[in-house]
Subunit: 381 residues, 2 copies
């Protein structure tokens, strides 16, 4: 089997955000569009990015009209602004929503059209402008991935856009930016990281290169997510979670994901829930469903999570991994049911249909039907 | 600490060599210079590359005037040919020597001057033409690294050129190409892989990202080098060694190396020895010297090599790693002394001086003086 692995140049470490201007300069930029959102501005990170651009003599324009679960019209607005301002490169500074919009703006900037034209795999034809993406949440992995997930406000569905062109030129991961996250956001994004790592590891498109990263990410989450939620000041745990997020991002960018993400994309297009919260509820339920397809992989996950699996069969060990995930989720206060976040039972049919057609469903290790998805959603209700 | 990690897009797997033409096309190439050597031609790999280029309508020109431990004038000749033929991209197909020359040709093609102008770190200013590098030996890691090592025929020294510009755009690793290697070359390049992984792991520039790759490479070598030397037909072992080479390459490209490579570069500039053979002799001797600097890292190496280290102190465990390397080297018939390859005692002073100034010495974990290097060379004699 031939497999491909692609990733951006990565600059990782405390204080690395200050290199954002210099990074753009190195890529030949003269005037950058800086994409962020109100939370990033409040935390002071946009200011630091602007300072870094000024320090290197770069011109810039700022765009921050972005909401959680970012929308098609936001990308289109950003692209119009990019052209109006005559920018030639893009910086994204923020969580997954910001970076996904920054990528979508980049697509439209050089390819034109509507963002829905690019839904699916490999639909981008013209190269994008230089992209420097700085992730601030240690969750989405979007700063290193070939994905952008944007809500189609007409069909009320998250569109998954997959293309090597979406891999940024440079990804900046500065663990200092994690100190401003709330405990809830730390828990939510941390469980998103775990979901990325586990789905990538059991994906039918997993390779030895993606496995290395997925396995390390699982181990790092097991060791660092609890302490990271517990204290804003535990910078070691936060740095390790940033590394976990990076490696989980590298794994899923190249091995793709599975049923958890297919479902949570479909739910996130309809409800303004936190992506990580939805994944947190779905992950153990989908693991139970997928156990049959890859007992040895789930056995390995249990070992990576630190479970004692001596003398257990692969399936028994795999079940320990599922129990571990449930316990972790309870410990850090993640939501346990979709209904507590406002999900309505009558939407199950519609969401199942959307989920079945999501690009992430293709790599789920177990065959799945509409009634399977409905049953899983009912369990998660 | 801020650290950077950079790698090419990787295409890995049996049959991937056939994607070389398409890869160049994707990078915008119209006419490629194909760099190879007589061994590659004899094995039939150049033919396959030419076929792939023809299949995609690419024009091409071939350059193969290359010797083991490639020389400055070969790069200069290649660059003149590149210009004469009006090429706009470069394919390297072969072992480390071929790929290092292909990179050096690329430097001269767009930057001009002599190749010695670029010795050291970050001396390349103008971007290089698109580079697609296909490694055929599972050893050098040059197809993914930011290194090119070229012999200066005036000073009789290997020049180490380090620059992010040298990271190819696309690296192709086709384990099928390993089936034509002799047992001796398999042993020699395999021990080079182990040296890359161990030196990168104990390097003072190691990072969590490079550690992941270095550790996996060490494990893969321990499990696959012996069977790979034993049989040309053991394709599973060869595929795993190709993966080990890739990961060791990613590790050392970003964490740099140490005293083994500093010395073997200096020796290789003077003597036409196989790089892996020189490393094989020096590795356990340098490990002994470096043990003091990083006992815990050597302890981890022992565990990765499969040694039982229960109840041992870090230093005791580290010594087991050293014994393991000696035994492995004996088992697969690697040379045990420099003198059996023609090294002369009276060269020790001159070689030590060169080695102290090699770029790889900077990241060796233990401080080292001229008399230390001399003592190590004497041990290796």
């Amino acid at each position: 089997m031939i497999n491909k692995f692609v990733m951006p140049e990565v600059i990782f470490g405390r204080g690395s955000l200050r290199q954002v201007g210099e990074s753009c300069l190195r890529l030949g930029a003269k005037k950058v569009l800086i994409v962020s959102d109100p939370g990033v501005i409040e935390a002071g990170w946009l200011e630091q990015v602007i300072e870094s651009c000024r320090g290197t003599g770069l011109l810039y324009a700022c765009f921050q009209e972005i909401t959680t679960n970012p929308k098609d019209y936001e990308a289109e607005k950003g692209a119009a602004f990019y052209k109006e301002q005559e920018c030639d490169a893009i910086i994204g500074i923020g969580g997954g929503s910001v970076i996904d919009i920054a990528k979508a703006v980049a697509i439209l900037a050089t390819n034109g059209g509507r963002i829905s034209d690019y839904e699916g795999v490999d639909r981008i034809e013209v190269p994008l402008p230089p992209l420097v993406m700085a992730g601030t949440t240690a969750g989405s992995g979007s700063e290193v991935s070939q994905f952008s997930v944007i809500v189609n406000t007409v069909s009320k569905k998250k569109m998954t856009i997959v293309s090597k062109s979406l891999v940024p030129d440079i990804a900046i991961i500065d663990p200092e930016t994690l100190a401003t996250k709330s405990a809830h956001l730390t828990a939510s994004t941390g469980l998103d990281v775990l979901t990325h790592a586990i789905e990538a590891f059991v994906s039918i498109a997993a390779t030895p290169m993606t496995d290395v990263h997925a396995k390390n990410a699982i181990k790092l989450v097991a060791e660092n997510l609890r302490p990271s939620v517990a204290s804003k000041l535990n910078s070691e745990a936060k740095e390790n979670m940033a590394m976990a997020s990076l490696q989980a991002g590298l794994a899923f960018s190249n091995a793709i994901l599975g049923a958890v993400h297919a479902m949570s994309h479909s739910i996130g297009g309809r409800y303004p829930m936190l992506h990580g919260d939805v994944n947190a509820v779905l992950l153990p339920i989908v693991m139970e469903f997928n156990l049959l397809a890859a007992p040895r992989k789930f056995q390995e996950i249990a070992a990576l999570l630190g479970e004692n699996i001596e003398g257990l069969s692969a399936s028994e060990a795999g079940r320990k991994a599922i129990e571990y995930v449930k316990e972790l989720s309870l410990d850090i206060g993640a939501p346990q049911r979709l209904s507590e976040m406002g999900f309505e039972e009558e939407m199950i049919g519609a969401i199942s249909e959307l989920a079945l057609n999501d690009a992430c469903m293709i790599t789920n290790p177990r065959d799945i039907t509409a009634s399977d998805v409905e049953a899983l959603l009912r369990k998660a209700l």
